[in-house]
């Protein structure tokens, strides 16, 4: 995929021949960017509470980068998100018994039914949900970094209209226009422009985690459903 822009995941996949340290380092940074989805997976799969989930997330990192877990394992296709799920499943299998016991109460009592507890499917859904959120948060951050200062008015309009908190009263373009002392048409135009940019920022964010255009489109469909 010569034409595809060099991305974090794409580069990593190209790093098959790079030395282990370089690959690990790059992989670690990528994983750390998606700390929250990993945390939510851990929360749903193994943890008793949030704090416990944070510890487990940290354990996961230690397992991942402290040992040889990723040395020989670089996916040959698909998006980083899928690879990450694979890693988490793998981590879970290795540590399964301990982890389930942890969830059940810190391993104080013997839990004879351990093996009867099925591998939950919810953790992956939790990861997907957090992933979806993380991509949006990061995209909005990108947008904010570029536009909040450079185009304060445009940003303000976007903030007032599209970023208003969930549950806040709905506004019309005219109300926003009046509030900011601009024309209604300006609100429409600025919103249109920033929304397009939001879309691009999200795609840029997703692009960091895929290696090919096809994977990008696939991830995009998974996120946006279109």
């Amino acid at each position: 995929m010569a034409d595809f822009p060099a991305t974090t995941w794409g580069m990593l996949r190209g790093f098959q021949d790079a030395d282990v340290a370089t690959r690990k380092d790059a992989m670690e940074k990528l994983c750390r960017r998606y700390w929250r989805p990993i945390h939510d997976y851990a929360r749903a799969a193994w943890a008793r509470d949030d704090e416990d989930a944070s510890d487990l997330t940290q354990d996961f990192f230690l397992w991942l980068f402290g040992g040889t877990a990723v040395d020989g394992y670089v996916a040959d296709r698909g998006a980083f998100r899928h690879y990450l799920k694979g890693l988490l499943r793998n981590f879970g299998r290795r540590r399964g018994r301990d982890l389930r016991r942890k969830k059940r109460g810190g391993g104080r009592a013997a839990v004879p039914l351990d093996d009867a507890i099925p591998e939950a499917t919810e953790p992956e859904e939790a990861l997907d949900r957090a992933w979806r959120k993380e991509i949006m948060i990061r995209a909005v951050e990108r947008l904010r970094a570029r536009h909040a200062e450079e185009a304060p008015l445009r940003w303000k309009i976007f903030e007032e209209y599209d970023l208003r908190p969930e549950g806040a009263p709905e506004l019309t373009y005219a109300q926003v226009a009046e509030r900011l002392g601009v024309k209604e048409n300006d609100v429409r135009n600025h919103l249109h422009a920033l929304r397009a940019k939001l879309r691009e920022a999200m795609r840029a964010e997703v692009r960091e985690t895929v290696a090919t255009e096809e994977d990008l489109e696939e991830e995009w469909r998974a996120l946006v459903g279109a």
Partner: protein, 737 residues
């Protein structure tokens, strides 16, 4: 807005409705291979494309924005193309390399400028005065050349000013430009339409484009220069009307208070650009350039400022000339890989002891990826190297929020709190070490923390850091400060020299050697290093503090104080700088000033034993003995094992005629430090007052034996011996050693 507040699902709905915007991946444009979008402006989108003639180099191709292909937009684009043909690189404008019509509409090709735009530069922190004036002159000349051809830019802003790889500024984006005079009749924007960015817009332009002549560009350039210096444009507000209203009223913060180091004549020229009456501004670009040059020639408030200004300008140019392994990270629209690019480059700058550059790169990178803990660490470490502890602490805390086990962030927090909370700092350093035992950054921080506990304890840690990172300037410099390294001649000298060989222009290395030389009494050598450091980084607290310390020890208190005041203007509550100021007052014998300064320091650092002890000393000199006693007692509570406050308190008690108390305190002091001369001196006086002449003479004998060799010591020795004799004469039984 904090993240959890984001209406995620609504935003997804919004995105589903948004149309794709000029997707470019793999696209070809007029035969060029497009690799990304650089930005938008003046009705066009600018793509980055490979230069087919030069592998590894890039071009910028501007096409009209999709959706804006109205007759008017097209006309505007065409006009820009025409104006750009006329105003080339020799005139100070981004040149037009080729143009034509493509499947995406009309396009024209410009070079891709590797030096980034002025917006990036401002984001990395305010520019120096000299650098700004130089920039102003060059840009004003460029505008002047356009003005003499009857062309007005009308949309000058930091985003439209680019730097070549060599650091030369060029004006871009003539999309709103117009030709004055007869040709204006055909000008598409010669209507009452309001275009341009309000932040840099002259009032008459806000009332309609037809009013815009060269003074409009003068206004904009003045506003740009103002922003370079102060960090914000002169007229800001939430709405267009608010901003323009301020401009009409002339309602802005004077440079004298926004940026006090700007010489008055230069501030006057810049502020004259904001006159509401266009006729009251410099007439055009050339007039503004002339005025700036005149102000620069005669503008220094102090004679050495002019010299410094030149040096700063050189440093600025050097900044752009320095070789770069990668393109600057925040060309608009580009998305840097968050760790491979700026991270490595910024960390390299840190290793080379160039915190200013590291901070700049990290700040740019953070604008794109604000949640990357490593980049936050790079910047935090940069702040530590400039002694900007509050900023360092903020970055470290943020990094730790994102990743509580980021060892480097713990190390930075340790360094930032070492003065204010040494105990917590030591705990952080040890935690950092437990997490990442092989990080040189962590090892140096740990060495510092251990040293603050007991000199010499940091030795093993610092040696390991140097072993792991033999080219790290900071580690080498810190090694000269460990234990008694300063007194140890060769090894410390070699480290300091080596650091400077690695990085001859590093403020960290220069301060390191300058301080080492100072500790050894080599004032001249110290001056050489610290003066140079000041030239290179005139606003670094680290440099200012070291420089003022040198001047203080030379007895040039006034000059030292000037450094300190400059540092305090940057960081008004910086404990180490406040300490320096207080020390200067004390040395000058300005005890009232010293009392005030130490009180200020204690507001920031309430548990500093040293500050309490010094305050006690100054109060004692002012005759406020009760308060002095309180301060020394507090110092003793805080640093029980330090001989010094005990001895100070002994002196105060003696003055209060509490002779037994004085003897007790002085004895305690001598138990802690057996040859402490101040304590011997006080106790001798106390014994004499108590009638124990023999003991007094014995203490004086010990005092005499501790005097330094050399002429100065000899004189004191003679006086002490005379004193001993006269005491013995009063009490023949006394038998001195």
């Amino acid at each position: 807005m904090s993240e959890p507040d984001l209406p995620i699902e609504r935003l997804y709905d919004v995105v589903r409705g948004a149309k794709p915007e000029g997707s470019f991946a793999g696209k070809r444009l007029a035969g060029f291979e497009v690799v990304g979008v650089l930005g938008e402006g003046g009705g066009g989108i600018v793509y980055k494309a490979r230069d087919p003639g030069a592998p590894g180099r890039f071009l910028a191709i501007k096409v009209i924005r999709p959706g804006l292909r109205s007759e008017e937009a097209r006309g505007r684009f065409e006009r820009e193309r025409a104006l750009a043909t006329e105003l080339g690189i020799d005139k100070g404008f981004v040149p037009l390399l080729a143009s034509g019509k493509s499947e995406m509409g009309p396009y024209y090709v410009m070079p891709f400028l590797g030096g980034g735009d002025l917006r990036d530069r401002i984001k990395r922190g305010g520019l120096g005065v000299a650098e700004t004036v130089e920039l102003g002159v060059v840009l004003a000349r460029a505008l002047g050349r356009a003005h003499e051809r009857g062309i007005v830019h009308r949309d000058l802003k930091p985003e439209n000013i680019f730097f070549t790889g060599e650091g030369r500024p060029l004006v871009a984006d003539l999309g709103l430009g117009k030709r004055l005079g007869p040709a204006a009749a055909s000008s598409l924007t010669a209507t009452n339409e309001v275009l341009g960015t309000p932040l840099y817009m002259a009032p008459e332009q806000a009332q309609g484009m037809k009013n815009a002549g060269p003074p409009v560009d003068v206004f904009a350039l003045g506003a740009v220069l103002y922003e370079c210096l102060s960090g914000t444009p002169p007229f800001v507000g939430e709405t267009f009307l608010e901003i323009v209203g301020r401009a009409v009223r002339g309602d802005f913060t004077r440079l004298a208070s926004a940026r006090p180091d700007v010489p008055a004549p230069i501030a006057r020229v810049i502020e004259r650009c904001f006159e509401v009456d266009p006729a009251a501004r410099p007439r055009d670009g050339h007039a503004l350039a002339n005025e700036l040059e005149a102000a620069r020639r005669g503008g220094g408030r102090r004679p050495y400022l002019a010299i410094m200004a030149c040096l700063v300008a050189l440093a600025g140019v050097a900044f752009f000339l320095r070789p770069r392994s990668l393109e600057p990270p925040t060309r608009r629209g580009e998305v840097p890989a968050p760790f491979v690019g700026p991270g490595v480059e910024a960390e390299e700058a840190l290793v080379a002891g160039d915190p200013e550059r590291a901070i700049a790169i990290a700040t740019s990178a953070l604008a794109v990826a604000p949640r990357d803990p490593k980049t936050l660490c790079v910047r935090g470490q940069g702040h530590v190297l400039r002694l900007e502890h509050e900023a360092a602490l903020a970055d470290a805390e943020r990094a730790l929020e994102l990743d509580p086990r980021e060892g480097w962030a713990l190390a930075i927090r340790s360094l930032a709190r070492l003065v204010t909370d040494p105990k917590a700092a030591r705990a952080d350093a040890e935690r950092a070490f437990a997490l990442v035992p092989d990080s040189p950054w962590v090892l140096v921080a740990r060495a510092r923390a251990l040293e603050s506990d007991r000199p010499g304890r940091g030795r093993a840690s610092i040696d390991r850091a140097v072993q792991l990172a033999p080219r790290m300037v900071w580690a080498l410099v810190e090694r000269t400060r460990v234990g008694d390294a300063k007194d140890d001649g060769a090894a410390a000298t070699e480290d300091a020299d080596h650091a400077l060989r690695l990085a001859p222009r590093s403020s960290v290395a220069l301060v390191g050697r300058g301080e080492l030389r100072l500790a050894r009494g080599d004032f001249k050598g110290s001056h050489e290093d610290l003066d140079r450091a000041l030239e290179i980084e005139p606003d670094s607290l680290l440099v200012l503090r070291a420089h003022s310390d040198l001047l203080r020890r030379e007895g040039k208190d006034d000059l030292g104080q000037a450094d300190v005041e400059r540092a305090l203007a940057i960081a008004p509550r910086h404990p180490q700088i406040l300490e320096q100021r207080a020390a200067i007052f004390l040395r000058r014998g300005d005890d009232a000033g010293a009392v005030k300064a130490f009180e200020e320091l204690l507001q920031v650092l309430p548990d500093s034993a040293g500050a309490h002890a010094f305050l006690g000393l100054a109060l004692q000199r002012l005759g406020q003995l009760d308060r002095a006693l309180e301060e020394e007692t507090r110092a003793i509570e805080l640093a029980e094992l330090s001989a010094w406050p005990w001895s100070n308190r002994a002196g105060i008690r003696l003055q209060q005629k509490d002779v037994p108390g004085a003897i007790e305190d002085a004895t305690h002091s001598l138990e802690l430090s057996p040859d402490y001369r101040e304590a011997l001196w006080v106790r001798a006086q106390a014994y004499a007052a108590h009638g124990d002449v023999g003991l007094a003479v014995a203490d004086l004998g010990r005092f005499r034996d501790g005097l330094p060799r050399g002429p100065e010591g000899e004189a004191s020795r003679a006086r002490i011996e005379q004193l001993m004799k006269s005491l013995e004469a009063r009490n023949p039984q006394a038998t001195p050693r």
